[in-house]
Amino acid sequence: MSMAAVETKKITLRTADNHEFEVEEAIAMEFSTIKTFFDENPDASEDTIPLPNVTSKCLSAIIEYCKSHLAFRARETSSSIDEQVRTYDEEFVKARDNESLKELILAANYLNIKALLDMLNQAVADRIKNKSVEYVRRFFGLENDYTPEEEAAIRAENEWAFEGVDPDDD
């Protein structure tokens, strides 16, 4: 469907909790999953695309992110722009708690948004860097299925990986 250059095409996305979002085509094309879908099915642009693995909260955050980054890219590259991008990314991540970070990662992975995914992975890595084992377990929502003896045995067997680190750390 060809339109005048001024009007931008909108794509409709439906999230897992049945909210519908209208986004500009440019933003939707940031989602490689969707881009690939459209490349293969050019006629489907009118349809609503279901995203059963993404919540509305996630999607709105992702849309915000992509909008901002598109805007950044439209401007000329300079060190000040890079600085602003960095600041934006930091702010984007800072306020989010661990659960929502994980949700965003899963969504970004599902939608295949490489830049966002890399940025989020780095943020998670920074959050768990040098944290205690318990903290990391809770961060990823893991059940500790080791008995204390088993855990002690693993630590002993892999002493070369744990040595030089405070033994009080648990």
Partner: protein, 847 residues
Amino acid sequence: MFDYNEVQSQEWNIVNSAGTMGSTTPSPTTQQPQKQLLASPTNTHMEDFSDMLLLTLGRRSMTVEDRISKLPDDLLLKIMSLLNTKQAVQTCVLSKRWKPLWQSLPNLDFNFDTFPFQQETDDEDKEEVCVQSHIYDPHCFLVDGLLCYAVKHNVQQLTFHSRSDCQYLFPESFWTCQSLTSIELKGSDWMPMKLPTLLACPALKSLHLSHFSAAGPNFEPTAFSGCPNLETLQLFDILAVGSEGLCIDALKLTSLVLSFASLRHGKVEIYAPRLTTFKYSGIPPIVCLTDHLASVDDVYFDIKTLGFKRNEEEYVLRLINTLNEFRHAKSLTLSSSTVQRFSQVAPNLQTLQLFDIWIGSENLCINAVNLRSLLLSFVLHGEGKVEICAPRLTTFKYSGIPPIVSSKENLAFLDDVYFDIKAYSLKRNEEESVIRLINTFKEFRQAKSLTLSTSTVKILAKFPSLLDQNRLPFANLKHLKIKVKKWQSKRFEMPACIPNCFLNNSTILKIYMYHGILRHGFTLHGHVYLATLKSNQEIDDEDQEEVEMKMCSFSNFIRQVLFRRCPTDLVKVCVQSHIYDPHCFLVDGLLCYAVKHNVQQLTFHSRSDCQYLFPESFWTCQSLTSLELKGSDWIPMKLPTLLACPALKSLHLSHFSTAGPNFEPKAFSGCLNLETLQLFDILAVGSEGLCIDALKLTSLVLSFAFLGDGKVEIYAPRLTTFKYSGTPPIVCLTDHLASVDNVYFDIKTPPRFRHSEGEYVLRSINTLSEFRHPKSLTLSSSTVQVLTKFPSLLDQNPLSFANLKHMKIKVKKWERDRFEMPACILNYFFNNSAILRIWMDSFEDSQ
């Protein structure tokens, strides 16, 4: 998983904003103040706080957590790759699912500086590790590293037996190593080693290679002709020498042993005027000696008879022809399979050894006038006799089942006789065997010295009556030796009857009992011994000790990770060593490991003063897409003579020096896909200069510490960015380079150039003029200073920067207040361009 030196700002933010967190007062008992920040009590509070936060913000709903509580493995691996490798390995304790996860990490980061390690208060013992090359050898990278280490330390004698199925990589300089005098290499049955295409070790005297295969179509028949001092050459179990055959050309060669598993129609040409010993085993070859080889004394043949049934005659003919080449031999040893087809014996023969003979009902005749030494070893003995006509025989050795040996002559010169009678399968005919043996003894009654193995003694002792009946007339016997195997030594008792039967007429008989030594040839384990080096400094020097301990832990960590991880391909490997690196061979091994596991991105910063050796296949590695290597100030790395990695897109080399006289100016032209090339701090490019030929190159950064008179030629049609730093080069671009958009120059002004400053400036101008198409030009302040020294030159050589839109001057922060843009420069660049924006940029922020 703590890093004591890092304060976790994230955590503190949460704590501060909440304001109501539990106490963080340092507990007075802990010694290190920083430790208290993250001590256990705080940690427990953090747990509660996290929970509280989650509940308060209402994010923690059961359904959400169930659904997303497990991120898929590949995402987890991605996140783990962003962590320090040590912490990534520690994730094995998180839960059972995480236990094996780290072993599939595609990225490895071994950085000594960031390696989390805090010295423990207890004194640890330094570890010593012994590694044996075994069938199961997950440490094979260690062996690679060890080979590099050995070469670097000018090893003279190297023995290496590989029994594993992994491929070992030799360092590039191995086959031309100056120091090696003796090499013994053995491949395994699963993984034969590849013969080198050229072997040229100048000092090499002895070379044993076994379980090798010819290196395919590239194998040079003269591969073994490059070592002028070679005295001993042994090639065992060579698989598949092709139709070009083998050419061995060695002036000083005295001993040659060849053993082929399969030799097609290839010839073996030997030019070795000093050859004295020749041993051959395998399928009959066509051996031609380009000389008479009159000096060859000892010849040994063991011809295998597999698979040649159709061509037996040709086979025998070949054998005879080959034997004929050696007709001057004094000593000939033939295996039984050879003997069965060859019954002539050379007239000069002094030594004859026949191994593993199967004798059926026919007789074996040995007729050798000059024979001095005879060794017979029978595996199976039928009814046939062995007839010996060898009047000058002095030594006779016999091993096997009791034969019937008769000698036609009186063996007047006989000195040593050795009998090792095997007792198996004689049960039915024991008595007859003993009679045979006694009869054989009689033939050798002139012997002055008789050696018997324990099994011989045992057999004889079974029938003491026979010994009584058949007095052994050993008239000249002076020595009787019993060879006892070491493990038997405590249990063996000499039966009384034995010495009696020999004690005949002899007045003095010395009886010796001594161990027999088992000789097995070449089945030793490859034994590799690694020890940590001890510093020579005082033990009081705590810093050094701490560094040593950390280095031990770090090295051990590298070893363990490489050992325990899944042998999957690697994507990215980062290594940074330390000034003090006694384990640098580990890094060598790590580089080999990375190459073998098809690493794609490799970063390696050497900060130590030891030399690292890259594996032979490194500079042609198929999998590398990005390579970053940095030498240290003490030991710059050597530039490769040829770089030809087909997949390489990005190359950063820094602190390199050209590889001396062999440096190819075209060294950087072999990578077709190269997009980014950065050469930093290249020391001393010589007068041949440098030639960079790269079709897809878009970004080029050069930085020379010293450039002689050499030119830098660049052919890179897609170049968009060019940065140059250093003394003014002569750069010529073999193309217009119309596409170059961004050009950056930072010309240094070393004091040495005062005498030819004018030329210097001229060179700079000429180089600048090569780049007259860019849209953006950045000059450092020193460049500007250089150019302004000779304003007249600027006038004489106007530049026409037609497309120039931006010009930036990079001013160092401390210069900012003092720097004034000279007017002549402005004018110089303003030429034709309509709009020109000039920026004064300091390194920190723009103005």
